[in-house]
């Protein structure tokens, strides 16, 4: 071996190690959980494994925040992060966990329902690993994950996935939490997480469950309240209230033959009023341009604007885009309207949440002003 070839070899090896070090560090940073700083209204901080111990020390275990009021009322579950690439869902849950206090009844909040999905991003999408929001004292970063469980934690996908209710789905849906209900105690990781959430619903005596989602602007089920038949009246009254406030939301009945979804199985298996809320998110749609932090937060995309002009979208989409603050405000208005309807329909099951961020204020001032300051 001549030294003539040794030097470029050593140089390239050094370069390789440097690239490996920096990209490895970036890759591993996705496994560090974001922090939540709940307000004084928090009464208990648990983990999903407290309800289903088999999840302990697995990538599926996640935090559960409980806000129990002094006055007796109903019990509410708010789930964010079922799909970690739908930021308005988990940001609404985080915002509520950091602000509310239960004056009546109980609120249980799970902001990162599919915790494993937050540890990676969708392959070949080029999505940013994180996005930031400005708080009064500085920038706060949040992870943006993938729609499905990390394949490192659950592998391989079957060719055809048969979910716990016997529905045949594409193989990748084996890692989709919102196809895995009511879960299986001895199933794959995603089914175990779904099983743990069902256990939480039973043990916390939940009566109303709201699963917060987003969908692409070209998807028909959008700006919608998807409801189980147990919650049809609740959803109809909530829709009227939302329309009066200027939020256009359509009602979608949960199809009885589409199994494994929260709005179907929470109602069928646990008998609760189950509702799923959808807002439009351009950052995970098929027609988007370059996926950037700005696209997630500001929601502006010229290709979606063009698609809207061509009449290809199911929501209005102008040059102002659909920013995250508007999507979170829509979710907040949806939750508030559903709670108002519950108070009207079943006064003894009413749930009153103090310090609830006003949707109009979130829309006007942004999400960051309501969040805990960034840690230095």
């Amino acid at each position: 071996m001549k030294t003539k070839h040794l030097m470029p070899g050593l140089l390239l090896l050094g370069l390789t190690l440097a690239v490996g070090f920096f990209s490895g560090r970036e890759f591993l940073s996705m496994r560090r959980n974001d922090e939540i700083f709940p307000g004084s209204g928090l009464t208990a901080r648990k983990r999903l494994s407290d309800y289903f111990p088999s999840l302990k020390d697995t990538a599926g275990d996640t935090e559960v925040f409980i806000f129990d009021g002094a006055a007796k009322g109903g019990n509410l579950l708010i789930l964010g992060g079922t799909h970690p690439n739908e930021p308005a869902g988990f940001m609404t849950a985080i915002l509520l966990a950091e602000t509310i206090r239960a004056a009546r009844g109980k609120a249980v909040i799970v902001p990162w329902a599919n915790a494993s999905g937050f540890t990676h991003s969708d392959p070949q999408e080029g999505s940013p690993q994180r996005f930031f929001l400005e708080t009064p004292t500085g920038r706060r970063w949040f992870r943006l994950g993938s729609r499905v469980t990390n394949p490192v934690h659950q592998w391989p996908d079957p060719t055809i996935y048969v979910n716990p209710m016997g529905q045949k789905l594409a193989g990748i849906d084996a890692r989709n939490l919102n196809r895995a209900y009511p879960g299986k105690a001895a199933g794959n990781l995603t089914e175990k997480v779904a099983f743990a959430i069902m256990d939480l619903i039973r043990k916390e005596r939940i009566e109303l469950g709201i699963d917060l989602h987003e969908s692409a602007p070209e998807y028909p089920v959008i700006n919608a309240i998807v409801f189980h038949e147990n919650a049809s009246e609740l959803a109809a009254i909530a829709q009227m209230e939302l329309q009066a406030e200027g939020f256009e939301l359509r009602l979608e009945a949960s199809p009885p033959n589409l199994r494994g979804l929260s709005h179907r199985e929470w109602g069928d298996a646990a008998g609760i009023k189950a509702i799923l809320l959808e807002t439009p998110n351009a950052s995970h749609g098929r027609l988007k341009g370059r996926p950037t932090v700005s696209l997630i937060v500001d929601g502006k995309d010229k290709y979606y604007e063009r698609a809207s002009r061509l009449g290809r979208l199911f929501v209005p989409y102008g040059p102002e885009g659909i920013p995250l603050k508007l999507r979170v405000a829509r979710h907040l208005a949806g939750v508030q309207a559903i709670l108002d309807s519950l108070r009207e329909l079943e006064p003894d099951k009413a749930i009153e949440l103090a310090n609830f961020p006003s949707p109009a204020e979130v829309q006007a001032k942004g999400i960051g002003v309501f969040l805990h300051p960034a840690q230095k």
């Binding site: 090896l13 490895g24 890759f27």
Partner: protein
């Protein structure tokens, strides 16, 4: 099973490093490290 996987990846990594120093042409060396970086990431980051 994981130890076998690690051993296979480690063996190929060593072969790649060995080839890197035996290769005389710079651009072939450069092509080789593009493969090497993926094996190093696999070797150290696999769970």
């Amino acid at each position: 099973m994981r130890i076998f996987y690690h051993l296979i990846v480690f063996y190929i990594t060593i072969q790649l490093v060995w080839s890197l120093f035996r290769e005389k042409k710079f651009w072939k060396q450069a092509s080789l490290v593009l493969v090497l970086v993926l094996f190093l990431l696999r070797l150290f980051l696999i769970e």
